[in-house]
């Protein structure tokens, strides 16, 4: 029994690890333009309609050092002529990146990252597809909780009844 107890402890930690999430996103474009090397990433993967993360890594083309003092704007062109321009600030997670959270509709999108530092300027474009809503994908872990809880409760009652009968009989 004690091994089972220990197993429970291990499972608790495993459950905790289950919620760890990765970062970075998918590389959509990486180009050397002017004085810069610019890479555009999107997250999550695949990109679903709703809020998404578009991030940009700017490096010095010659040295490969990350450029952290540039002005970066993201111009997004979406389906049906949808357009938005956002200033990309320092990314909350990866401080080498510039990033912005944007609302995206389903369809084909083009993200243009415009990088300026002093007199140098570079524009890099990336295209990506935004899939239709992932509501079902988002919802299923939450919707599975009550059935699992009911099954566990039923199993608990069944085991308790069996134990009671065993003791009395």
């Amino acid at each position: 029994m004690r091994r089972t107890l220990a197993l429970s402890a291990a499972l608790l930690v495993w459950a905790a690890a289950r919620t760890a999430f990765a970062d970075g996103g998918r590389l959509r474009a990486s180009e050397d333009v002017g004085a810069f090397r610019v890479a555009i990433f999107t997250a999550p993967e695949p990109v679903f309609a709703g809020r998404a993360d578009v991030s940009v890594l700017v490096q010095d083309r010659a040295s490969g050092e990350a450029v952290l003092d540039a002005d970066v704007t993201l111009e997004l062109l979406g389906p049906g002529g949808a357009q938005s321009v956002v200033t990309a600030g320092r990314h909350a997670r990866n401080r080498l990146f510039y990033g912005a959270q944007v609302e995206l509709a389903p369809g084909a999108w083009i993200a243009a990252a415009r990088v300026r530092r002093g007199a140098s300027e570079a524009v890099v474009r990336a295209s990506f597809e935004v899939r239709d809503s992932r509501r079902a994908a988002v919802a299923w872990p939450y919707l599975s909780i009550p059935p699992c809880a009911v099954v566990l409760y039923a199993a608990n009652r069944g085991l308790r009844n069996r134990e009671r009968k065993r003791r009395s009989g």
Binding site: M1, R2, R3, T4, L5, A6, L7, S8, A9, A10, L12, V13, W14, A15, A16, A17, R18, T19, A20, F21, A22, D23, G24, G25, R26, L27, S30, R37, A39, P44, E45, G50, R51, L57, Q59, G64, E65, A66, L68, A92, R93, N94, R95, L96, Q101, R135, V138, A139, Y142, L143, I145, P146, A149, V150, Y153, A155, N156, L159, R160, E163
Partner: protein
Amino acid sequence: MSSTAAAVLASWQAPPVLTALLAAAALVYLRGWRKLSRLRSGRFPTWRLAAFLGGLASVWIAAASPLDAFSSLLLTAHMAQHLMLMVVAPPLLLLGSPYLPILRGLPRTFVREGLGPFLAWPAAKRFGRALTHPWTGLLAMAAAMWGWHVPAAYELALRSSTWHEIEHATFLLASTLFWWPVVHPWPSRPRWPEWSVPLYLLAGDLQNTILAAILVFSEKVIYPTYASAPRLFGLTALEDQAFAGALMWVPGSLAFLVPAAAATWRLLSPGPPPKREPAPAPLPIPVRTRTAGFDLLRSPVVGAFLRSRLGRRAMQGVMFGLAALVVVEGFTGPPAGAANLATAIVWTWGRAIAVIALLVAGNLFCMACPFTFPRALGRKLGLGQRAFPAALRSKWLAAGLIGVFFWAYEAFDLWDRPVATAGIVVAYFAAAFLVDAVFRGASFCKYLCPIGQFQFAGSLVSPLEVKVRQPEVCAGCTTHDCLRGNAITAQRGCELELFLPTKSGSLDCTFCLDCAKACPHDNVGLLPVRPAAELHRDPPRSSIGRFARRPDLAAVALVLLAGAFAGAAAMVSPFAASVSSSGLRAAAFFAAALAAAAVLAAAASAAGRAWARAPASFAEVFRRQTLTLLPLALAMWAAHFLFHLATAGPSIVPILRRAFSGAVVSGAGAGAFPGPAAISGIELLVLDFGLLLTLHAAWKLAGELSRERAPRLFAPVAAVASVLWLAGAWVLLQPMAMRGMLH
């Protein structure tokens, strides 16, 4: 330090769910460890606590540190992250011997009644033994290590965050199984002789070394993602790969070889042979002294505040100030609801806070309700001497008023009408004064107030209740000050006619605490209760009677249930356009929802009663089963209001700025609130919680009404609750129209 290095080192972000889970695990372990270390200080020294907390910290660092932020750019960072999860965290966690501390740290009832049957299940024991066998550990480690390093699997994990999570979980679980026979955490016993441990560890290291060598000596980049990723720190992709391999080879191997050497050294050392661990003796049962349970009124700060004579008055004063602000701003502020403080306070913030308070504490809205001030004024003027008409002493009128309120909200677009919102507040004060100026007691609260009825019904699901602390003290009481008032201190008793010794549940309780202040024995507390437990009990309740004889209470429950689902559905595209701004259509919509709820509940009760051949009458089954649907209704309301709070709540910042400094309202405030994606998960969790409480209450009730055939009585109402839950989830997952709210 270069700016690049500084930026890399600053790339930390705590994943909220994982952080909360790890913190909870640490607290549970700490609680159990403290108890055990008092009983077995030699078995649970401080280093075990440090090891377990270190293991949890390793998991957190792997997920929150720059290792994770750069894992898709640098294989070296990703490898370091995996090493944390495979060779650092698992042995540390196991060295903490976590099973007993965790069991001791969890609530005793949960361990005994919830986990106990599973832990005593022979099949689970056999499974546990098989899982912790050395062969299982070795195979699990090999499978995880080789399986995830296959390029297709590795790439899958790099592409998809879900697969990345699964990869990490697999590594942690497989490594925990691998390290089990090495650490064999107490009280587990070794399955293989001790001389096998070095060989076991060498077998683990062999796999690690082969894989590391492949990475180091490969002449091509094995994982294409890293070949195309931007290069950092001047490392080529191949150099990065070799570096990752070296990391795996040297520190990774040391993690296997150092314990293997230590085990060998111990085997070869002269001296007495290693003692076989004695079978663990049962732990002594601690002597439990009877202590009073938690009582919020006895807590140091909050309790003292609530018990003070001015405590409630202060809360009411704040609410009165807010009501005054709503009135002034509603009548004089901008006409658009999105920019007006009145609508933001009432419809965005007020409703959500009141419902959250119900779920986490109790009826705090009524406790702080400012509408009782007119009653106090009436008392001072010597008004309010008549008894409320006997024919109206029920909740029928209140049920109708709640329905009218829900209808008016949709029909007149109250969320977007600051003037109407302010008007409602004024009308509320006027109605409270008029009713209480004529009738004695808290007639307005008890029989008329729609907000009060919502709160009363909702507080049946709350975890706190105003209760007698020790019933035996009340048995000897002859003055009944809690009801009649205390003549010595001039403290009035319960104006809602609740006699504490026979009060059960929070129905009709405004949390005013007059009873607590009037009791000469100081025997009234604000005590924790099982949420929704009152819904399956039916003792004769003071001033309420039995639920089975109160069809008006079932009507209130049905109105709240129908309103919860119809109100949320009215915000999604199939219904929004047809309901909003049309009194007739809104009335038809709510009437249809109410009829549907009533028919479903009645059909479930009739079917269940017939199938179970329950001896109770249909009326009793229907009335009591309908009440068990209240948790689901409250959860739906809570989910709905949380959505508004999360999406429109931050707009209070620019609105306040406009209200007090005249700045133009141009957008939402700081985005400190969870976004729509996160709030969807929270909404669904709340709805799940409501369904489970409803099912539990309905199951318990079925057992009470039909002991032999409880499942048959339960099944139809459970089906109805499940259908409503699915419908609610569907509604919550639709894009909601944020009508009249800035977001």
